[in-house]
Each structure stands twice: as structure tokens, then as C-alpha cells.
């Protein structure tokens, strides 16, 4: 490994007018704002660095990573997303690391590593690297990065029912001791993963990112002094907390509940897994109570308590501080999460966790659903709440080489709000700035794959005064024999509407043989299905729920939806009570509103 020290954003040399102009009081609003902006800038830089140098697509396209700066207690100062549902994962892991080594057991240059599923709440692919930041001999902060490694060993294909089948478990260790990489640990890790070159590339990228964070944080400390920076951070926490409390105060007090269900746990096919959420608002405090969630399940759809708390924090942040940066610990202080151990979102060892990310998304949507009546302008109808991922793998007949083609995420429909239609073809709430894979890139990388169709699903958006966003369909043809796995959920519990809005279409997957014969499945969790050369698999992701009575949608907007092909003529009539007449004339097709027919239907 060829490592050069990244050039620091070292501004310490300049003892300048800004500092002089503003150092009058440690917590004056000017200095606070400058420090805030610098903290955001540091985690932005860490993020850019990691994304651009990572070796596997799950990091650079799916943005399955999170970087951040943390105070000496492990509380979040600034998080660079990455993965929204991991918003609390780094902080919890750092707190565990501090507890393990004790405050004096961590030295400058140590890089602490773990992928303990029960500490961070998610699957073993998430490697968390942490570097302490020292200033004048004192440990004052941490820089950390989590990134999803493509493979960490374990069972390939099929269902796991405990953590031991899921691959390499790394307890809290020091991969670097005072700046020196532990060769033995490194070899142990490289030996236990299927793509060691990729893994070591990602390791280098993660280490570079936290070193960047550490050096820029040190520069900030040297520039303003530890006391001023610390006061700035304390002020940031308090300020974020105050803004969040103001938002909670605007929600009527009360005790609200909602529930939904997941298809199954992948082992007991067809047995629904209940998601039950209770939200209590009391003045400027909110409690999200997840104690009635399903107990942990046999399949690998469990997640740990950190993920359950993070799901509650994601919902809370959406409701209270959607656009405030940096994301920090102060903003979630008004939230209490009640979460006893042993549920599907607080699973305990040795629960299987490989597909941890699906259930928490429905938890978030249920929080919005619970508050729908009292916060009509602050919530959103249900979304398709899934990544829609598939994996095709086998030996390519053309080259004789093993390949793994990870399909997705292709995006689905988001729920409508009281103000607007839902967004079509957009990534689910587990993820943020996650990108799909362009067909041209897929086909360049995987010559055995042809993407035949990638489009919006007509009529998949839930009808409503505001229509839910449309889901997508992707059809992929394989030119070689392969096996297919998929992890698609919510094939029966459709994304719900609110305030009289109707549900969108749910998610689904099927296979089409080369001769066109369809093969269907009881749920969306396909395990080692046989694909012959020439067969297709088709992933259909759901639409969002509608908002408000569809009969209240202006007929002109329904006509525009028909003209664009978002809504069919039949659905315009049945769901919206709008009669659209199609007129074909040679090369042109036109659509016309039948106003009397519509008025008649809409009389009810």
C-alpha cells in the first residue's frame, strides 16, 4: 500500500482577522456559525474522499457508507451521509469502542475497527474504522467511517438463520496501533473475504477518509483553540435541540399508533411479521415506542437496537429538522425511543441480520402514518419501502469465469403529501443520495446481461387528490445459465394512502422463460432460482400511496396523467371518476375530457 499523507486543510498558520474579529466570546453567534460551516465542510470532504476512491459499487453508487466526526464521548458532531438509516450506527460503535479500551487505552494513530452486528445494529458487511483526534495531548474527538464491503465471507445464496453463517465477525480491535498497520489482522481479514483486492481497496479508502477528517479537525482546533471549538460544538447541540423542540411543540399532544406488516421472514413463507409503532407527543418531547414490534425472527431480516433507534431518529429528523446541517446529536435529544431487546429491530445474538435494512423502512413510514391525522401537512403517504435488490450469479459460458451481478436499486414510488403528488422512481428511505446503475454501465461490465426495459409502471401510483409516485419495472435478460436470489419485501402490504387516498401497487418479482412462460413466486424472496440462458427476470417496484379523495383531483390533471401515460383510461374512470375519450387520427392520437360523463360519475 502506497500511502502519502493527504494535504491537510491546514489553515492554522493564519492567525487572522476572522479569528481576531470573532474570538471575543467563545459562544458568540458569529464564531458558532463559522465553526458549524467548517464542521460540515470537513465531513463533506471525508465523504468525497471515500466515495471517489472506494472500489465497490455499493459504496460509490449506492452510497452505502457514512462518515462523521464525534466528540470525546462518541456523540455525533457532524455526519456525512451516506446511508440515512445508519445515522446512529457510528456513534454507538464509537461509544462501544471507548467503553472497551477505556479513555486512556486509545492512543494517537490507533485505528479501531469492528463490524459487530449487535453493536452497530446492521449486517457484517459494515466495517467501521475510527481514528482518535488528539489536541495538546488530549483526546478530544473521533473521525469515523463506515462502508459496505461487497463480501465478508459466509454462506453464498440461500437463507442464514444465525450470525455465524453470515461471515467474518470482527470484534473491537486495533487495526493500526499508533499509526502502524497490524499485518496479521489484515491478513486474517483478507483471507476471510471473497474479493480481497476490493476489500483492501475499500479499507485504504476508509482509512484515507478518516485521516482527512482527523487532520482537518486538528487544524480547526489549532486555529480556534479547543475551548472555542468545544463551546461551538456545545452551542451547536443546544441550538439543534431547540429547533427540534420547537417543531415537536407544533404537533398536538397525544398518543398515536399505526401498524403494517411485512410479508414474512424468509423462513416461514407467508407468515406476516407485524410492525407496530406508538408515538407519544408531550409538549416539546416525543417518544417513539417500538415495544410492540414482532419478536426477532428466524430469517436474516433482523436488525439490532441501533437500527431500531436509528429508524425512529430518521422519522423524527424528517418531521423536525429535515434540512439542518450538520446532522448532530442535539437534533434528536427531544426524542426518546422505547425499545426492549429481542424485537426484529433490537435483535440479540445470534439472530441473523444479513438483510437488516428492509423492516426499519416500514417502521419509519408507520411513524408518519401514526401522525397523519394530527400533522396532515407534515407527513407523507406510504412508499414502496424496499431496495428491490437481486443477485444473479454463476459461471459465464463465454469466459468460464464466475460472476455476480447485483441488480438494483431501481427506485419506486413515494407517497403523496397534502400539497403535492408523490415522486416517481425514487430511492427508498433507507438510502439517500443512492444512484441506480445505468443500463450502459451494466452492459459494459456484464456482457452476459441485457437490460431490456427500464420504465415507469402505469397505474402504480396510488390514486388521490394528490397521486402517489409511480413505481418502476426492470426486465433483465441473461445470456448464460445462472442462479437468482432476491430480497424483495412488501409484496402484499401495499403502500398506503392517507386522508382518503388509495394505496399504490405493491412490489413484486417474476421470471419469464425464453419462450415467454412466466414463473411466479409466493413472495419476493427468491432463493437460488434456476435461470436458463435466454430467460428474463422482471422486478416491479411499487408506487406510493395517494393523498386525499381521488374524486377531488381536478379532472384536467387526471387528463394530463392519461395523456402522459401515468394513468390508464380505465383507471381514470374507475379510481378518479374521470372519463377520457381517446381519438386516433392517422399518425396522431389525442385525448379529450368527457365533461358531462365525468360530472355524472363524480356525482356519487
Amino acid at each position: 500500500m502506497d500511502t502519502t499523507t493527504p494535504a491537510a486543510g491546514d489553515t492554522a498558520a493564519a492567525s487572522d482577522a476572522t479569528a481576531a474579529a470573532t474570538a471575543t466570546a467563545a459562544t458568540d453567534p458569529i464564531t458558532a456559525e463559522i465553526i458549524r460551516a467548517c464542521l460540515v465542510s470537513i465531513t463533506d470532504e471525508m465523504k468525497t474522499n471515500l466515495m471517489r476512491t472506494a472500489y465497490n459499487l455499493i459504496i460509490y453508487e449506492a452510497q452505502d457508507f457514512t462518515v462523521g466526526l464525534f466528540d470525546a464521548n462518541g456523540d455525533t458532531i457532524s455526519v456525512g451521509l451516506g446511508l440515512p438509516m445508519f445515522v446512529g450506527g457510528l456513534s454507538d460503535a464509537i461509544k462501544a469502542k471507548i467503553a472497551f479500551y477505556g479513555p486512556d487505552g486509545i492512543k494517537p494513530g490507533d485505528i479501531l475497527l469492528t463490524n459487530d452486528a449487535y453493536i452497530m445494529g446492521s449486517h457484517l458487511n459494515h466495517m467501521i474504522f475510527t481514528l482518535p483526534v488528539f489536541h495538546e495531548g488530549r483526546l478530544v474527538a473521533f473521525a469515523a467511517s463506515m462502508a459496505h464491503w461487497l463480501d465478508v465471507g459466509g454462506l453464498l445464496g440461500g437463507t442464514t438463520t444465525d450470525i455465524f453463517a453470515e461471515g467474518l465477525q470482527i470484534p473491537i480491535v486495533k487495526l493500526f496501533k499508533e499509526g502502524v498497520q497490524d499485518d496479521e489482522l489484515t491478513r486474517l481479514i483478507a483471507t476471510n473475504v471473497r474479493f480481497p483486492d476490493l476489500a483492501m481497496g475499500d479499507l485504504r479508502a476508509q482509512v484515507a477518509a478518516i485521516r482527512t477528517g482527523e487532520s482537518r479537525m486538528r487544524a480547526l482546533l489549532e486555529r480556534y483553540g479547543a475551548d472555542t471549538v468545544q463551546a461551538g460544538i456545545t452551542g451547536l447541540f443546544d441550538h439543534s435541540e431547540e429547533l427540534a423542540r420547537q417543531a415537536v411543540r407544533a404537533i398536538p399532544d397525544g398518543d398515536y399508533r399505526a401498524e403494517a406488516y411485512m410479508d414474512d421472514d424468509g423462513v416461514h413463507t407467508g407468515t406476516p411479521v407485524p410492525i407496530r409503532v406508538r408515538v407519544v407527543v408531550d409538549g416539546d418531547r416525543m417518544t417513539i415506542d417500538l415495544s410492540e414490534m414482532s419478536p426477532q425472527v428466524a430469517g436474516y431480516f433482523n436488525s439490532g437496537a441501533t437500527a431500531g433507534r436509528s429508524a425512529a431518529q430518521v422519522a423524527f429528523t424528517c418531521l423536525t429538522s429535515p434540512d439542518r446541517r450538520p446532522i448532530n446529536t442535539g437534533a434528536v435529544r427531544p426524542l426518546e425511543v422505547v425499545l426492549p431487546p429481542g424485537t426484529v429491530v433490537s435483535a440479540t445474538k445470534p439472530a441473523a441480520m444479513r438483510w437488516w435494512m428492509t423492516y426499519p423502512m416500514t417502521v419509519v413510514d408507520c411513524v408518519f402514518k401514526a401522525l397523519a391525522d394530527v400533522l396532515p401537512d407534515g407527513v407523507v403517504a406510504g412508499h414502496y419501502a424496499d431496495l428491490g435488490m437481486t443477485m444473479s450469479y454463476g459461471v459465464d459460458e463465454a469466459t468460464g469465469r464466475f460472476f455476480q451481478f447485483l441488480g438494483g436499486p431501481q427506485g419506486g414510488g413515494w407517497g403523496a403529501t397534502s400539497r403535492a403528488d408523490g415522486q416517481s422512481a425514487t430511492i427508498c428511505i433507507n438510502d439517500g443520495d443512492t444512484h441506480n446503475a445505468p443500463a450502459e454501465v451494466i452492459e459494459s461490465k456484464y456482457p452476459m446481461v441485457t437490460v431490456e426495459e427500464y420504465g415507469l409502471r402505469e397505474d402504480s401510483g396510488g390514486p388521490g387528490r394528490h397521486r402517489g409516485g409511480l413505481g418502476t419495472r426492470m426486465r433483465v435478460r441473461m445470456h448464460t445459465a445462472a442462479r437468482l436470489d432476491s430480497w424483495i419485501e412488501r409484496t402484499s402490504c401495499a403502500p398506503w394512502g392517507l386522508a382518503g387516498g388509495r394505496p399504490g401497487l405493491p412490489n413484486g418479482i417474476h421470471i419469464e422463460r425464453a419462450d415467454g412462460e412466466p414463473v411466479t413466486f409466493p413472495n419476493g424472496k427468491v432463493g437460488r432460482a434456476e435461470i436458463n440462458a435466454g430467460d428474463c427476470h422482471v422486478v416491479e417496484l411499487g408506487g406510493g400511496g395517494g393523498y386525499g379523495d381521488p374524486y377531488e383531483r381536478p379532472a384536467g390533471r387526471v387528463l394530463a396523467d392519461v395523456r402522459a401515460g401515468y394513468v390508464s383510461v380505465a383507471s381514470a374512470r374507475e379510481a378518479y371518476g374521470v372519463v377520457v375519450v381517446v381519438e386516433e387520427d392517422g399518425d396522431s392520437v389525442s385525448f379529450r375530457l368527457d365533461e358531462p360523463g365525468t360530472a355524472l360519475l363524480r356525482q356519487r
Binding site: 499523507t5 465497490n56 484515507a208 429535515p322 415522486q423 425514487t426 430511492i427 450502459e440 454501465v441 420504465g455
Partner: protein, 687 residues
């Protein structure tokens, strides 16, 4: 008739700079832009510069015409034709949600509605092989349908057309037969990089503005000719070069960043004159500050431009000036959030009503108002367009903000300036430290109407000592356009593995030379056929490279030393520099080849200013005013100089200000300034 003119139409002003080849004199003109008839603005600007079209031998034109049409969505009724199965690529986009917690998030909004997007059966593989022939009957049916739909422009994107344009070319022929009056734009002529959404978005934008822009350029060309100009019209492009009207009419989106590109070209020209190779170009105007990094005198290009910003914007995939923008400008508003936290920008008072000090109805405190309160700008001072700075209005706005903060107005004003400087410094870090570069190694060029006023504080934030304020900073982009060459770029995607230094793939190595030579020939052919004549032709080669397994690439200039091993070493070095680590033992891939062809144009010799002593001439000092730099220290008396009276070799020590009609350079205590032979203000920033 040896006058050359650059005309830069901006949002508020049209700037004209002329250069007389015989006398070496520069002429300047500034007039209000005329969005309803931009061509009139060109002639107004020429008149303001004291010249007329009949005097011109050469005209270079930059304009916001493209960016305005796209942002305001005032383009043609445009359709899109694409591969069967992929109608929704443009609407689906990349499915990302940059605002992760915002439930009201909205995606990019396509320029073409879905009912005007049609599929045609045809298909290519990733290697360019035809796997399904173009269905000509279906293609013609679509073309007739479009004619019936009354479209004015058609964009065509077929999958993998960057590898084989045959189907797009045939589709274009059919469209021209059926819609002879429509503007037709084929994706492979605008972008040959893979990723279908980005290419679709690019060609859609091009078609959307195509009829308007090609018509505008043709009329301007005609009007100039009618007015007696024999000058060929050259159009400034986002790649830092100019092209002729025919090229600009085909590739309209290349005009997107023509103004900022002019400023960076000018910075490079000044670097050459001053002997610098590395510089940061910093352009601060009324609403934003833009930063570009120049390395080794090379115009910085990127191909990830988003029209309207990353979050909800439309990607335009062309070789385009690599620039970062932050919403901090003279009009940026200082505001308080619900918990009393202060923020500056990106909310802006814009040009209308503008800062409170403009006395045109603005009441919110802006950066400009803070500058007036501190004396950085003089109350009662004159602005371009005859506006006078209203000190009382600025004080009222800042005092109101200070009252809500519970702070002293002067400390508040200093704070607003400091927050603005810190955010601008952070945006400079985004193009320096985020790329492994230390900003202290660069000279900082400050221009734009507000650059020279704030640069000292920004430089201090970054630890930069060397700052250059060029002549005529407020019209520097137009001046820079006069320094541009004719230029054409091609970026061609074709993924191939190069290998490691010790194990270079011989096939790839051989194919590289052939491919580069083919692309160079193509560029040369296009330039030779153009209306703008040039002297010599130079080529630059670069490759977008990555390690096998990575997705993102680093653009590596192809080294002089031939061969794949040297290229691999150059890539390892570039990766290490940018990201802090590299992997020489791992195989590298080449994703795209880049060729730039540059045809040299005659440049102005920058006029010299007369040499004087270290002490400025007595007439240069026009007065003195009290200026606050740090509130604790209170106001300090600062000398005021008139820039046009300063001579080469004059030295000015801060605190001081140097004034010119459209810009003010502020020296803080500890800063010194020396005037060089070209009239540049060379600042040494105090520590």
C-alpha cells in the same frame, strides 16, 4: 480596422472590452443587459465602449442566453426519440434523493414531457454491435407522429450510440425528411460518454435551446455584417475556447458557462505573463462566488455539470469549466433561524431590490450593507449605473439584525463579513484540499464586482499570501475572452484494461495511439472547416482512468513519455495526489479518452502602465476614510487611492483601499500591495 471586441452578456450587465491591435489600447463598455432583445444589448455595449460594429475585425461573444432559456424553461416544444424499453430514462434519472430527510423532496424536472417521448425498436450492445436493426417503418411512424404533435425540436438518444452512431444518424435523416423545419440533435454529436440518463439530459437540453440559440446567433451574425463588420463571430464555450457560429448552433449547450470560462482563460493568460503556473481563479459577484483551480496553466475541465445545482438539477455532460459555486455574493442576506442562529446566504437580495444600501426597497442586511457599515465601501459612493450607496439604509438594516442578535451593529457587520469569507474559503477548499491540494501553494486571482473587496479575508482564512487583482476586475471575464483560442474537445467512452506497469496489455497500448490519432484527426477536420481562422494547431491528450473495480475515474494528462507503463505511472501519481493513496500493483482501466484541439488566435498584448516610484504619485491618493477591520480595535484611518492613477512599482500598505469605477480593493492592516507593469495589483496578505 484592427479592433477586436469581446462581448459578455450577463444577467444584469453587458460588458464589452475592445482591443486595438495597432495602438494596443483597451476600451471598456458596460451597459444594462436587455433580456427581451439581447442583440440590442450587444450594440448598446459596443456603443458604451465607444465603438461600432463597422470598426470590428473580430468579435468574441459570451452570453447567458443558453442558461437563461434553460433555467426559465423558455425553449422549443421538444420531443425525444429513444430506444424501445427506455422511454422513461429521462424521467427516472438516477433515483437519488440528495435531501435524505426532506419529505417534500422533488427530483429534476425533465424539459420534455412524457407524451413527447417516443420509443423506436433498435438496439446496440455495449461493444457497439447491432443486436437489433433499426425498425425504419416504426422510426418513420414516430417522425410523422412528431410532425402531427407540432414539435419544433427533436433530441435522439439511442443506447450505446457513443460506440456506434449509425442508428442515430439514420434516425436523424428520417426526422429531417419528415420534419424539415425542426431542430434535430443527436446524442453522439453532443456527448460520447456512457450513462444514458446524463447523455439524454444533455441532448434534450441542447435540442430545447437549439432553435432559439441558433436563430439568435444567426441574427447576431447578420446584424453585425449589416452594420459593416467583416468580422467572423466567434462564440465563447464552456471549454475555455471559442468556436464558430455553425458549431455553436449544433452544440448550443457549450455556451452554458461562457462568462466564467472567460475569466479563467484571462487568469491563465495573466499567469503566463506573471510567470505563475498554478492559480486559483476567484470570481465574486452579486449572488455567488465561483472558484476554479488552474494547474500547470491548463484550463480546468470537468464533465459533471448540473444545470440548477446538484440536488434537483439537470446534468449536462460536456467538457465544461470545472468550477464550484457558493451562494455568497454582495447581495447575500444575513438571516436568523428560529432559534436565533445567524446564517449568511444563499438567500440573496439579487440585483432587484438589491442590498438595503441600494435604496431600491431592500431592507434585509446583506454583505454589501455590512461592508458599508464598516466603511469598506463608502457611504455615498457611486456604483455602476449611477446608483449611490445609501449609508443610512445600510446602517438601519444591519442595526435591525444586530438588535435581534443582541449584538453591537459594528460587531454584527464584521461578523457577517467573516461568515461570508469563511463560507467562500470552504468552497475554495472544495476544489483544493478535497483534491489533495494545498491552497497555500497557489496564487489567488480575485475579480468580479466583489472579489477584490473580500479577498484579503478569504486569503487569510486559507493561509494564502499571494493575491492578484487584475485590471478591470468587474469586466475581467470579457477581457479574458480576448485571450481565448479556438478549441474543440472530444470525450470518447470505451472501457479497456491497461494492466500494471510490469504487465501492460499490448493490445490496449497499441489501440490507444490509434484511437487518439483518430480523435485528433476528427477535431482538426472540424476546426479546419470552421469559419474562425487560426494559426497553429495543438493537441492535448488525456485519459479517464481508474483501478479495476473502481467506478469513478481520475483524468490523467497523457505524459510525454510514450507507452502504457508511463501512463499507468502517471495515473498512480494522480490518484495518490488526489486521494492520498494509490495502488501501483493493481491493474488500471481506461474508461474514456479525451482529446482537445486548440487553434491559436492572435492575443492582445496587455497594455503597460508607466513606471513610478514606490511612493504613489501625489494625485493617486484621493483621500482617507475610517474603516473597521476588527470591532475591538475600532475604526482605523485608511488611505484611499484611485487605481487609474497608480504607476508600476507603486507600493501601498494596508489599511488602505484602491478604488476604480466598478470595484474596490481592500487592504487590511498588514497587507501590502505593489502595482506591476501591467497594472495588476499584487497583494501580499499579512499574517
Amino acid at each position: 480596422m484592427a479592433l477586436r471586441a469581446a462581448v459578455d452578456i450577463g444577467g444584469t450587465f453587458t460588458d464589452v472590452v475592445t482591443y486595438d491591435d495597432l495602438t494596443g489600447q483597451l476600451g471598456l463598455g458596460k451597459s444594462l443587459s436587455t433580456p427581451q432583445d439581447m442583440i440590442q444589448g450587444v450594440f448598446d455595449g459596443l456603443a458604451a465602449a465607444g465603438t461600432s460594429a463597422g470598426d470590428l475585425a473580430f468579435v468574441i461573444h459570451g452570453s447567458t442566453v443558453v442558461v437563461n432559456a434553460l433555467i426559465e424553461r423558455k425553449g422549443a416544444r421538444t420531443a425525444l426519440v429513444t430506444t424501445a424499453g427506455f422511454r422513461d430514462v429521462y424521467e427516472i434519472g438516477r433515483v437519488n434523493r440528495p435531501d435524505a430527510f426532506n419529505l417534500a423532496f422533488t427530483k429534476h424536472e425533465p424539459l420534455i414531457p412524457r407524451e413527447l417521448i417516443h420509443e423506436v425498436p433498435e438496439r446496440l450492445g455495449a461493444d457497439g454491435r447491432v443486436t437489433r436493426e433499426l425498425d425504419e417503418a416504426a422510426a418513420r411512424k414516430v417522425a410523422r407522429r412528431l410532425a402531427a404533435q407540432g414539435v419544433e425540436a427533436v433530441a435522439v438518444t439511442f443506447l450505446h450510440a457513443y460506440r456506434n452512431p449509425a442508428h442515430e444518424i439514420r434516425m436523424g435523416e428520417i426526422l429531417r425528411e419528415e420534419l424539415p423545419d425542426a431542430y434535430v440533435s443527436l446524442s453522439h454529436l453532443i456527448s460520447r460518454e456512457y450513462r444514458e440518463f446524463e447523455r439524454t439530459s444533455t441532448v434534450a437540453a441542447n435540442a430545447f435551446v437549439g432553435p432559439l440559440v441558433s436563430d439568435y446567433l444567426r441574427r447576431l451574425d447578420d446584424r453585425l455584417a449589416d452594420a459593416g463588420s467583416g468580422a467572423p463571430l466567434a462564440v465563447m464555450q464552456s471549454n475555455g475556447g471559442v468556436c464558430d457560429v455553425a458549431t455553436a448552433s449544433t452544440s448550443c449547450v457549450q455556451m452554458l458557462e461562457s462568462g466564467p470560462a472567460g475569466g479563467v482563460v484571462g487568469t491563465i493568460a495573466l499567469c503566463e505573463a506573471l510567470g505563475y503556473r498554478e492559480a486559483i481563479a476567484f470570481d465574486m459577484g452579486g449572488t455567488t462566488a465561483k472558484t476554479a483551480v488552474i494547474r500547470d496553466l491548463t484550463f480546468p475541465l470537468a464533465s459533471d455539470y448540473f444545470l440548477g445545482g446538484y440536488r434537483t438539477g439537470l446534468p449536462i455532460r460536456i467538457p465544461c469549466l470545472d468550477i464550484v459555486e457558493v451562494g455568497t455574493g454582495g447581495g447575500s442576506i444575513a438571516w436568523l433561524d428560529d432559534a436565533g442562529g445567524i446564517h449568511v446566504g444563499p438567500r440573496s437580495a439579487g440585483a432587484d431590490p438589491g442590498p438595503a444600501a441600494y435604496a431600491r426597497g431592500g431592507t434585509a442586511a446583506t454583505i454589501t450593507d455590512a461592508a458599508v457599515v464598516l466603511g469598506h465601501l463608502p457611504a455615498g459612493g457611486k456604483l455602476a449605473g449611477g446608483l449611490e450607496l445609501d449609508g443610512a439604509a445600510a446602517h438601519r438594516a444591519v442595526a435591525d439584525l444586530a438588535g435581534r442578535l443582541g449584538m453591537d451593529p459594528v460587531a454584527t457587520a464584521a461578523g457577517v463579513i467573516a461568515i461570508g469569507a469563511a463560507s467562500m474559503a470552504n468552497s475554495v477548499r472544495a476544489v483544493t484540499t478535497e483534491r489533495g491540494l494545498d491552497p497555500r501553494d497557489f496564487a489567488l486571482f480575485a475579480y468580479g464586482g466583489n472579489g477584490p473587496l473580500h479577498i484579503s479575508l478569504v486569503a487569510r482564512e486559507l493561509g494564502i499570501r499571494k493575491v492578484v487583482v487584475p485590471p478591470f476586475p468587474a469586466v475581467f471575464a470579457a477581457l479574458g475572452m480576448l485571450m481565448a483560442d479556438v478549441r474543440r474537445d472530444i470525450v470518447q467512452t470505451g472501457v479497456r484494461t491497461l494492466g500494471t506497469e510490469d504487465d501492460i496489455d499490448a493490445g490496449t497500448e497499441a489501440a490507444l495511439e490509434t484511437s487518439f490519432a483518430t480523435l485528433e484527426r476528427e477535431c482538426a477536420q472540424a476546426l479546419r472547416g470552421g469559419a474562425v481562422r487560426y494559426e497553429g494547431l495543438d493537441y492535448q491528450r488525456a485519459a479517464d482512468m481508474r483501478y479495476v473495480g473502481q467506478e469513478h475515474t481520475v483524468t490523467v494528462p497523457v505524459p510525454d513519455e510514450p507507452g502504457g507503463a508511463a501512463l499507468k505511472r502517471a495515473f498512480d501519481r494522480a490518484h495518490g495526489e488526489r486521494y492520498g493513496h494509490s495502488a501501483p500493483q493493481e491493474r488500471a482501466q481506461i474508461v474514456s479518452l479525451r482529446v482537445s484541439a486548440v487553434g491559436t488566435l492572435l492575443k492582445p498584448d496587455l497594455p503597460k502602465v508607466a513606471r513610478g516610484q514606490a511612493e504613489p504619485p501625489a494625485g493617486a491618493r484621493t483621500g482617507s476614510r475610517d474603516i473597521v477591520f476588527t470591532p475591538a480595535e475600532g475604526p482605523l484611518p485608511a488611505a484611499v487611492y484611485a487605481r487609474d492613477a497608480l504607476l508600476a512599482g507603486n507600493v501601498v500598505t494596508g489599511p488602505a483601499v484602491v478604488e476604480e469605477p466598478t470595484a474596490t480593493t481592500l487592504l487590511r492592516p498588514g497587507d501590502t500591495l505593489e502595482v506591476d507593469g501591467f497594472g495588476n495589483l499584487l497583494l501580499t496578505i499579512g499574517q
